[in-house]
């Protein structure tokens, strides 16, 4: 099975090791992974800011790069959600394009959803030891139904103690451009999220989206919490990904 890995723009720029972790996990699951070299952005920033034309341009670019793969896997609920649930809307009015988009959407998966339900990854390579609370990112949870998948994968790791924190399904306040247009409100929402994380008293809060990750880590540190690690689920599952920055 030929899997196209779309690392997302935020992983590309901020946390390359998450991209390598995703790659390692897919290869562990026996996938033949291809990483299209010219990939950039799925178009979500434009789409959510009302720039349909800009978003459509990027959606068509991604479509061209990935439509030959059997599956497209994305280490982000919101970018996978963009492709799966919104590309069809962007292609509205162009039947040929809409058909291609629909086929792409149907084979696009958030990473843990793909590993748990499609690739059926059995042996998780990571060796994390400690307690974890999982933050359910909004788009992953409410657009794609990602809830049990990351927990099932983490449960395969003998060193992991998984606990549930209060408000796990509540928004962290990131919201893309919202975080810089309404910084104060965004940070106030993040503060509530971080209070829940700190009350859970875990070694790491683990999640599946870069936006939430930057927001939560930034807020925890500003609140003076230097201890709670903020990790992408791919990093935890993969362990040392190789490919250091």
């Amino acid at each position: 099975m030929r899997v196209g890995l779309f690392v997302t723009c935020l992983v590309d720029m901020m946390r390359p090791r998450i991209g390598f972790s995703a790659l390692k996990l897919l290869e562990s699951a026996g996938c033949e992974v291809t990483v299209p070299a010219a990939q950039t952005c799925c178009g979500q920033p434009g789409y959510n800011s009302g720039d349909r034309a800009g978003a459509l341009g990027l959606a068509e670019k991604l479509l061209t790069e990935f439509e030959n793969c059997d599956f497209v896997v994305v280490p982000s609920g919101s970018c996978a959600g963009m492709i799966r649930t919104h590309y069809a809307d962007l292609a509205k009015g162009d039947d040929a394009l809409a058909g291609r988009m629909a086929r792409l959407s149907a084979k696009t998966y958030e990473l843990t959803d793909f590993l748990a339900n499609i690739a059926k990854l059995e042996a998780v390579p990571g060796n994390f030891r400690g307690s974890i609370a999982y933050h359910d990112s909004c788009a992953g949870l409410r657009e794609l139904g990602v809830k049990a998948q990351p927990r099932a994968l983490l449960a395969k790791m003998p060193g992991v103690r998984l606990t549930e924190m209060a408000g796990a399904e509540e928004c962290c306040g990131f919201g893309g451009a919202f975080s810089v247009k309404f910084g104060e409100i965004s940070a106030a929402i993040a503060e509530r999220k971080c209070e829940g994380i700190r009350a859970a008293n875990v070694d790491a809060v683990v999640l599946g989206d870069l936006g939430c990750m930057l927001n939560i880590e930034g807020k925890l540190r500003r609140m003076g919490d230097e201890k709670t690690r903020v990790m992408h689920v791919a990093e935890v599952l993969a362990g040392d990904p190789g490919g250091k920055a």
Partner: protein, 462 residues
């Protein structure tokens, strides 16, 4: 003052913040428990969505049917195209019947229209009788901050001080005593009012009835004691049958207040007949357009399904953080961020559709399945089309879309960008003040990037 400035004040309001925190989980938890009572909540939601859409598709026909049936039962149906006409119609009715005092139960349309002011200007005394609305009225006509719980933002201590000042009685400390005091003050008004004004949760076309969902009993007093009853509600509230009403009533109280059924549920049909013990001698419906008819069949038509339960705001992280007053008009939260620009003009509420994380906590709880984030996004598109966004934002979006379609340049720009950010962090794992996005670092740090892009590292290895 815009949403953002008001929101800033609300975030700095320590008392409000404490109240919001306490109130938040109450609504959320109660709704979660209440919907669990339904065998198939999702199927009920779907049925409600379908019946609302079906009715709205033929809205004119159902309104005509309603008018016919209500008129047959002795009521008078009047139409108002906007708030000014609402005030005109109601004041005319009051004058016709020599009304000096009006008791009111909750009506958001009365807020939309500014009806209390119009009544006062016409020399008619309006008395709000919903406890929350009454508190706001005696507090110098403060606007409500929530459509179901208008004093959501207040603490009992504030109400206690207000009552002592206005009622000139000793300050009470517990809520029960304060409620009793309000009842005692309101009772003479109930008995002396010449006219009652209510809202309407639903209008049932087949019987010409109005359905009222209330919890305090004041609605019953307002609609049955005075000789004139006026219902002021929106044209989109009409539904075909009592069967449809039953479907929607399974959802409304559960979604709104977490109750299986509200304390009072009234189905009011026609005027008092000779054999009736009570009821108004005259019944009027003022059915209001105020921008609703324009939405029928359009790209925002789904918003007309709204049954005003307030679940969207109760579950909204932004509403939970800033409260209802920040939204600046009658309807707060996600539904307000859509209705305000649609009713008051897109250019008059530019912040509201932007002030959402699109987390969809609202969409998944909406009992009539309104895709609120999609509608917010559509309003953002309208703002771009109508050139209502700041130049810097437009340029940034255009630049990003262009750059991301040119992978070689994109690779170069991102390599430089992440190195710059890494340099800004100065060896730390975070950036404390980010000039590029100052709003981010107002309230949190910006984690530093690793320093190289995935694409360059991957290219080195493969």
């Amino acid at each position: 003052m815009h949403f953002k400035a008001r929101a800033g004040q609300k975030l700095a309001d320590v008392v409000l913040q404490e109240n919001l925190r306490k109130a938040k989980s109450k609504f959320v938890d109660m709704r979660a428990r209440a919907i669990a009572e339904l065998d198939d909540f999702e199927a009920t939601r779907e049925a409600a969505k379908v019946l609302r859409d079906r009715t709205l598709d033929d809205l004119d026909l159902w309104l005509e049917r309603f008018e016919l049936e209500a008129t047959r039962r002795g009521a008078t149906v009047l139409w108002a195209k906007d708030g000014a006409e609402v005030c005109q119609r109601v004041v005319d009715i009051a004058r016709r019947h020599g009304v000096k005092k009006v008791t009111k139960s909750k009506s958001m349309l009365s807020e939309e229209a500014g009806l209390n002011q119009a009544l006062e200007d016409a020399g008619i005394q309006p008395v709000e009788t919903d406890l929350g609305e009454y508190i706001l009225q005696i507090n110098d006509n403060e606007p409500p901050s929530h459509i179901i719980a208008p004093v959501f933002h207040k603490r009992k201590e504030e109400v206690s001080a207000l009552f002592a000042r206005v009622h000139k009685l000793a300050a009470k400390t517990d809520i029960e005593a304060m409620t009793r005091e309000a009842r005692e003050v309101l009772r003479p008004h109930f008995l002396s009012a010449d006219m009652g004004i209510s809202g309407g949760n639903f209008l049932v076309a087949e019987t010409g009835s109005v359905a009222l969902v209330t919890n305090e009993g004041n609605g019953r007093m307002v609609t049955t004691l005075p000789r004139v009853h006026v219902v002021v509600t929106g044209i989109e509230k009409v539904i075909p049958t009592l069967e449809d009403l039953a479907t929607l009533m399974r959802l409304l109280p559960r979604s709104a207040t977490g109750q299986s059924i509200s304390n009072y549920f009234s189905l009011l049909t026609g005027v008092k007949h000779a054999e009736d013990q009570d009821g108004p001698a005259h019944m009027y419906f003022v059915l209001v357009d105020s921008g609703r008819a324009d939405l029928v069949g359009g790209e925002f038509a789904e918003m007309l399904r709204c049954i005003r339960c307030g679940a969207c705001m109760n579950h909204c992280p932004v509403y939970q953080a800033v409260g209802g007053h920040a939204y600046g008009w009658v309807y707060p939260g996600p539904m307000g961020s859509i209705l305000t620009p649609l009713f008051a003009g897109i250019e008059n509420a530019v912040d509201l559709p932007q002030a959402a994380t699109l987390c969809n906590q609202c969409g998944v709880v909406c009992p009539v399945k309104i895709p609120l984030p999609d509608l917010l996004r559509r309003l953002r598109e309208k703002q771009v089309e109508q050139r209502l966004r700041p130049t810097a934002e437009r340029l940034a979006l255009t630049a990003w879309a262009w750059l991301a379609r040119h992978p070689a340049l994109y690779a170069l720009a991102t390599r430089i960008g992440v190195r710059y950010l890494k340099w800004l962090a100065g060896g730390e794992d975070r950036i404390r003040v980010l000039g590029l996005a100052p709003e981010w670092t107002l309230g949190r740090d910006f984690p530093a990037p690793e320093g190289k892009t995935f694409r360059e590292l991957y290219a080195q290895k493969h």
